[in-house]
């Protein structure tokens, strides 16, 4: 790839506009990553309003400040685990602009005085290109590590646990990784896209960053779109209307039955919600968020209950197996939903799904049971009429997709 123009950075294409494979190409196009002190960096990121793009949407400035306040030197970890089955953005970024992600690590590492910079790549990612990129850069070498762990492998404390040579299982949240992480050091874990966004923000400043998105939810974000269209990764401004994303991705709107926003821990939205803007302000009334930037489209011909039951079953199987309420409750919840997905099911199953949902929420070390319970709640809400149809023994599904 030879595109070195930075002109597209004036539009909505930012991190995806950078397609620089070699270090030389990258520096020619964008210049070197600026050196900032931790105070300068925290101020910059805070005034830009950058939030984590890995799913939780936590303000990045606060995350940096948490480790900067420590007396011990922090470790910085780039998270490209991409455990979310429907997400393709980490892979896309590491393929198209590996140096941009590495720049982000570099900026954080220098500001925090870190001696260890790690980039963790998940099992669906080929790290060849980013390894080559890391090797040709001057300065501190980024340690690229190929890891496993499935859906929860990218969960912050499970990732740290794996990097510490243990199993990829979440740790007790009462001791967060920003206090005790890699080798007991305070650890900052940042998603690959967050690092790429930071690399551009550090070069072009907060006003530039805020020139896209909404005042409360600024910038652009990557969104992996799938279903009714070949899977693609788009970069769009925060606050873009849902319908606009579907159109950009080439989804035939008349064929949309529902959309799942935010991935398998996400929320179903009805087709009538096309006007909703993908920003915190508009999504919170639906209890929804863009999560790690995932939009999956369900065809009008498909049964939302069947698809949801399959997802819940997958999620139950992806549990780390540590916490009792999750180990016992999640398979039961998935099984109950699966039985409900068969037309002519027992009406008592509806209340049973609700009861089991209540039993897993807030009772795991990580958010896996909570995220799954939220997904199941939205299934029961958005497909409520279809649940009634199933209880009458009816289902419109004509073909299995």
């Amino acid at each position: 790839m030879t595109t070195t123009s930075i002109a597209p950075l004036t539009g909505t294409q930012r991190v995806l506009a950078v397609r620089t494979e070699s270090w030389r190409e990258h520096v020619d196009a964008l210049g070197p990553a600026p050196r900032l002190s931790s105070d300068e960096l925290i101020r910059l990121v805070d005034s830009a309003g950058l939030t984590g793009r890995g799913g939780a949407g936590f303000p990045t400035a606060r995350k940096i400040a948490a480790v900067a306040a420590s007396r011990r030197t922090p470790v910085v970890v780039g998270n490209a685990m991409e455990g979310e089955f429907l997400s393709h953005k980490d892979r896309t970024l590491l393929d198209q602009a590996p140096h941009l992600v590495l720049d982000g690590l570099d900026i954080l590492g220098r500001a925090l005085g870190s001696r260890r910079l790690i980039l963790a790549t998940g099992e669906r990612i080929d790290s060849t290109r980013v390894r080559r990129a890391a090797a040709e850069r001057p300065g501190r070498l980024v340690d690229v590590r190929d890891l496993g762990g499935g859906f929860i492998g990218g969960q912050e404390s499970a990732l740290v646990s794996q990097l510490n040579g243990r199993a990829a299982v979440p740790q007790d949240p009462h001791t967060p990784v920003y206090v005790r992480g890699i080798d007991g050091r305070p650890t900052l874990v940042a998603n690959a896209e967050t690092l790429a966004q930071l690399a551009l923000l550090a070069r072009f400043g907060p006003d530039w960053f805020r020139s896209q998105g909404t005042p409360d939810d600024p910038g652009t974000f990557l969104i992996s779109v799938s279903g009714l269209t070949p899977p693609s990764v788009l970069e769009v401004p925060r606050g873009i209307r849902l319908r606009e994303v579907l159109l950009q991705a080439g989804v035939p709107l008349e064929r949309v039955g529902a959309v799942l926003l935010g991935g398998y821990h996400g929320t179903w939205l009805r087709p009538g919600t096309g006007d909703v803007r993908l920003c915190e302000e508009d999504l919170s009334p639906y209890g929804a968020s863009t999560g790690a930037g995932i939009l999956h489209v369900l065809s009008v011909d498909s049964c939302g209950l069947r698809v949801s039951a399959e997802i819940a079953t997958y999620l139950a199987a992806q549990a780390a197996g540590q916490c009792g309420p999750c180990v016992n409750g999640m398979p039961r919840m998935a099984d109950t939903l699966t039985r409900l997905a068969v037309p002519g099911s027992d009406p008592r199953l509806v209340a049973e799904v609700d009861r089991l949902r209540g039993l897993v929420i807030g009772r795991g070390a990580c958010a896996h049971p909570d995220g799954t319970a939220r997904f199941v709640a939205s299934t029961m809400l958005v497909f409520a009429r279809h649940v009634e149809a199933h209880l009458r023994g009816e289902c419109h599904e004509t073909s299995v997709d």
Binding site: D172, H174, C323
Partner: protein
């Protein structure tokens, strides 16, 4: 207010905590503690401080602490 912190990664459902602190904890159908206060980590009122300490000591997996 001090809270009863449950390390869910350690808890194995022995259930002694709920026996010693029935005001704050119940057990689910599998024997794992449920907070009765609506909080993830139930606040321990001063009147229950001694019982709380006993529950912490009684847990065979050291999955409880007060902090």
């Amino acid at each position: 207010m001090r809270r009863l912190l449950i390390d869910r990664t350690r808890c194995d459902g022995h259930g002694s905590c709920a026996e010693l602190l029935p005001e704050l904890l119940d057990l689910d159908e599998w024997g794992f503690p449920i907070s009765l206060t609506g909080e993830r980590d139930p606040a321990v009122p001063r009147s229950l401080a001694a019982h709380g300490e006993r529950a912490v000591r009684a847990c065979p997996l050291m999955a409880l602490r007060i902090g």
